[in-house]
C-alpha cells in the first residue's frame, strides 16, 4: 500500500491500459452480479428482508454503546476475554500481546477485512510471528505480496496462469499448471500442514450477538473453523459495528449475505461461537478505528450498516473497470469510497469521484445503504473542506459564476459556439481538460436551443 495521497484516476488508467485484462475483470464480476440477481429473485420477500435488515442495523447503531456493553458482559460470562482497541495500532498490540503471552509462533488467519485495515500481518511478522492467510484467495495474494482487491473475492484480479506460476514457485506445483481443481488441491495440502502446525487461529467476525455474547463467522472453504478448532487459542477481531441485538436477527442477515455476495443461498459454513472450547481460550477484540466518529455523523452513520457482502463492488461500473487496487484501501468500491475518506479525507479525496452516480450500488445493497447519495454528500464535504485538486476547484468556481448569471451564461454560450471551432486542438485537449481525455466535443450548433425554440414558436 502506498502512502501519501491516493489517486484513483491515475491507478485506474494503469489498470485499463491492459484492455484485454480490463474486459476480463469486468466480465468476471458481472458473472457474480448475475448470480446475485438470480438468487435475489428466487426469494419473494427479498425487499421485505432488505428493509428489515436496514431497520435492525439502524436500531443497533442507535444503541451501539449499550449493545457493546451487553455483548461484553455476556461474552465474558461465557468465558471469553473481551478487549477494546481505539485504533489499528492498539488492536495490533493487543493481538500480539495475547500471542506472545501464549508463546505462539505460528498463526493461521481466516479472512478479516479489519485485520487488513489494521495491517496486522506485517506487524506480527515484524515481531517474529508467522501468519498464514488460509482463505485460498487471500493465500494467493499473500504469496504474491499484494493486498486483496475485493472483500469477498480477494484474488478476482488474478488469472489462473498467474496462480499457476505463483504456486509453482511457492508450493512446487507443476510448471504451467492452470487447472483450478489441481491448484486448489495443492493449496489444500499445503494449508493442511499449516493448520496442523498452528499454535493459534485468528478470525474476523460477521455478526456479534449482544443478547447471547456469541458471534458468527461465515466461510465457504471451512478455513476459519479448521483454524480455530485445532489450536487452543482463538482470537476474533471485529469492528464495533458488527453488533446485532438478537440471535433471531441472524435469520434476516444470513438470508441476505451469501445471496448478495455470490448468489449462494447461504455460505457453506455459518459457525456460531459462544465462549471458548473446553480447555481453550477465546479472545474478542473490539476495534473502533474511526467507527465511533462515523456513528456520531448523521450524514454517514448508515455506512456502518455494511455487512461486507461485496454486491456494490460487483455491480459498480467503475470498480469493474478499474480493479480493486486502484482504490488503495482495504475496502474498495462504492462502500469503500464512503468509508475511506472518513478515516483520511485528504488521502482518499479522489474516491467519491470514482462514481457515475448511476445508483446501482444502492439498488443491490442488502441493508439499503444510500451509497450513491453518500458519495455525493462526500463530494460536497470534500469541496467545502478544501480537498479538491485545484483544476476541479477552479472549474467548479467558474461554472458557478457563469451558471449563476443569465446574461453571462447566454453570452458565454454564444461566444463558445463561435470561438471553439476556431481554436487549435492543443488549447481544447490538454492536461487541464480531464473530460477530454477519452472524449471529443460535439460539433458546435449554429444556434442555441433557446434560439431555435423561439424561432419555431414565433416568439
Amino acid at each position: 500500500m502506498t502512502h501519501g495521497v491516493s489517486d484513483h484516476p491515475q491507478k485506474a488508467a494503469e489498470f485499463i491500459s491492459d484492455s484485454q485484462r480490463a474486459h476480463w475483470h469486468d466480465g468476471a464480476l458481472w458473472f457474480v452480479r448475475d448470480k446475485r440477481d438470480a438468487a435475489a429473485r428466487s426469494v419473494p420477500e427479498w425487499e421485505q428482508l432488505r428493509e428489515t435488515a436496514r431497520q435492525i442495523k439502524a436500531h443497533a447503531l442507535s444503541r451501539l454503546p449499550d449493545y457493546l456493553e451487553e455483548f461484553e458482559r455476556k461474552a465474558t460470562a461465557l468465558g471469553a476475554q473481551v478487549h477494546w482497541a481505539r485504533d489499528a495500532q492498539e488492536h495490533n498490540e493487543i493481538v500480539y500481546g495475547i500471542l506472545k503471552a501464549g508463546g505462539v509462533q505460528r498463526v493461521v488467519k481466516s479472512k478479516s477485512m479489519l485485520t487488513e485495515e489494521c495491517h496486522l500481518n506485517p506487524f506480527l511478522e515484524q515481531h517474529g510471528i508467522e501468519v498464514v492467510d488460509t482463505d485460498l484467495g487471500e493465500r494467493i495474494v499473500q504469496l504474491r505480496q499484494e493486498p486483496p482487491s475485493h472483500i469477498v473475492l480477494p484474488a478476482i484480479h488474478i488469472k489462473k496462469e498467474e496462480v499457476g506460476e505463483c504456486f509453482h514457485e511457492h508450493l512446487g506445483t507443476e510448471a504451467g499448471a492452470t487447472d483450478p481443481a489441481y491448484l486448489t488441491e495443492a493449496a489444500r495440502q499445503h494449508l493442511r500442514e499449516r493448520f496442523m502446525q498452528a499454535d493459534a487461529g485468528i478470525t474476523g467476525v460477521n455478526f456479534a450477538i449482544a443478547e447471547t455474547g456469541g458471534f458468527v463467522v461465515c466461510t465457504n472453504e471451512g478455513n476459519a473453523d479448521l483454524g480455530v478448532s485445532l489450536p487452543n487459542l482463538h482470537i476474533a477481531c471485529m469492528g464495533l459495528e458488527k453488533i446485532i441485538p438478537r440471535a433471531a436477527d441472524l435469520g434476516v442477515f444470513l438470508r441476505l449475505l451469501a445471496r448478495s455476495a455470490t448468489g449462494q443461498p447461504i455460505t457453506t459454513y455459518s459457525s456460531h461461537f459462544h465462549g471458548p472450547r473446553a480447555g481453550g481460550a477465546l479472545h474478542i477484540v473490539l476495534v473502533d478505528n474511526g467507527r465511533s466518529a462515523l456513528q456520531q455523523s448523521e450524514e454517514h452513520q448508515r455506512a456502518l450498516s455494511c455487512i461486507r457482502c461485496g454486491a456494490c463492488l460487483n455491480t459498480c461500473p467503475v470498480y469493474r473497470r478499474s480493479g480493486g487496487h486502484s482504490y488503495e484501501t482495504p475496502v474498495p468500491g462504492p462502500i469503500g469510497s464512503i468509508l475511506a475518506p472518513s478515516r483520511d479525507p485528504e488521502k482518499y479525496a479522489s474516491l467519491p469521484f470514482a462514481c457515475s452516480l448511476c445508483g446501482s450500488c444502492t439498488d443491490v445493497c442488502p441493508v439499503k445503504i444510500d451509497i450513491h447519495h453518500q458519495l455525493l454528500t462526500w463530494r460536497r464535504e470534500l469541496a467545502e473542506s478544501g480537498h479538491l485538486d485545484w483544476k476541479k476547484r477552479w472549474s467548479m468556481r467558474l461554472a458557478g459564476v457563469v451558471l449563476g448569471r443569465v446574461w453571462l451564461y447566454r453570452f458565454a454560450g454564444k461566444a463558445m459556439r463561435i470561438v471553439l471551432p476556431l481554436l487549435p486542438r492543443f488549447l481544447k485537449y490538454n492536461p487541464l481538460n480531464a473530460w477530454g481525455k477519452q472524449r471529443e466535443l460535439p460539433p458546435m450548433p449554429r444556434k442555441s436551443f433557446r434560439e431555435q425554440y423561439r424561432r419555431r414558436h414565433g416568439k
Binding site: E45, K160, R246, D249, L250, V252, R255, S271, H274
Partner: protein, 200 residues
C-alpha cells in the same frame, strides 16, 4: 479499561435517537413442501440427499456410498456404524483426527431454503470432526426440516452448545477465476441421509 471508556464516551458524546427494532414475526414465505425443497437445495449446494426409511436403513445404506466403502478411518457419532474405528472420547488431541476419512454425524434439524443442517458440539468432544474429515455423512430426521432461517433461529439454542454450525454442502471455493472447486479445506463430499420415519 481506559480504551473502553474512551470508545463508549465517543459513542455517547451525542445521544442518538433510538430507532425501533423491527418485529421478526413477519409473513415470511414458506415452501410448499419443505422436504422436497431441502433435497433440491442440498443438491444445489453440491451435496447429495438420500431418503431412507429409518435409522436401520440409513446404516444399511452406508456401504453403498463410495466415501464410506473406501474409508480406512471412520469416526461415527451415531451408534451402530459397523466400520467405526475412531472414537472421539478416546482422543485427547484433536490433531490426531487429521487422517479421518469419513465422519458420520447427527444433524439436529435442516433448513429447506438453503439445504443447511444444524450441527452442534453438544456431547461432541472435538468439534473439528465436522471440518477435518475428507467426507461427511449426516443423518437427519425428515420431520426436523424447517422452511426458512427465521424458523431455524426459533429452534437454535446456545445454552447447551458453545458451538453450532449451519453446514450447507461440502467445502468449496471459487477463488481461482470463479471456477467452482469442491473440497477446499473441509469435507470433499457431503451426504445427507434423510430418515423418513424420524429416528424410529
Amino acid at each position: 479499561m481506559e480504551s473502553k471508556q474512551t470508545i463508549l464516551q465517543a459513542l455517547r458524546f451525542k445521544r442518538l435517537d433510538e430507532q425501533p427494532a423491527p418485529s421478526l414475526q413477519q409473513n415470511w414465505v414458506a415452501t410448499p413442501n419443505a422436504i422436497a425443497t431441502f433435497e433440491k437445495m442440498v443438491a444445489a449446494v453440491g451435496g447429495n440427499c438420500i431418503r431412507v426409511r429409518n435409522m436401520q436403513d440409513g446404516l444399511a445404506k452406508l456401504p453403498e456410498l463410495p466415501c464410506y466403502a473406501d474409508a480406512k478411518k471412520v469416526c461415527s457419532l451415531v451408534e451402530g456404524v459397523e466400520k467405526a474405528n475412531v472414537f472421539l472420547d478416546d482422543i485427547a488431541d484433536p490433531h490426531d483426527l487429521e487422517d479421518v476419512d469419513v465422519a458420520i454425524v447427527r444433524g439436529e434439524f435442516g433448513v429447506a431454503e438453503n439445504g443447511a443442517v444444524w450441527l452442534t458440539d453438544r456431547g461432541v468432544k472435538h468439534r473439528v470432526i465436522y471440518f477435518i474429515p475428507q467426507h461427511i455423512i449426516v443423518l437427519l430426521d425428515a420431520d426436523q426440516i424447517v422452511h426458512n432461517m427465521h424458523q431455524a433461529y426459533e429452534r437454535v439454542g446456545f445454552e447447551q452448545a458453545g458451538f453450532g454450525v449451519f453446514l450447507s454442502g461440502p467445502s468449496k471455493t471459487a477463488d481461482i477465476e470463479q471456477s467452482l472447486v469442491i473440497g477446499a479445506h473441509g469435507a470433499r463430499s457431503l451426504h445427507v441421509l434423510l430418515l423418513e420415519n424420524g429416528g424410529a
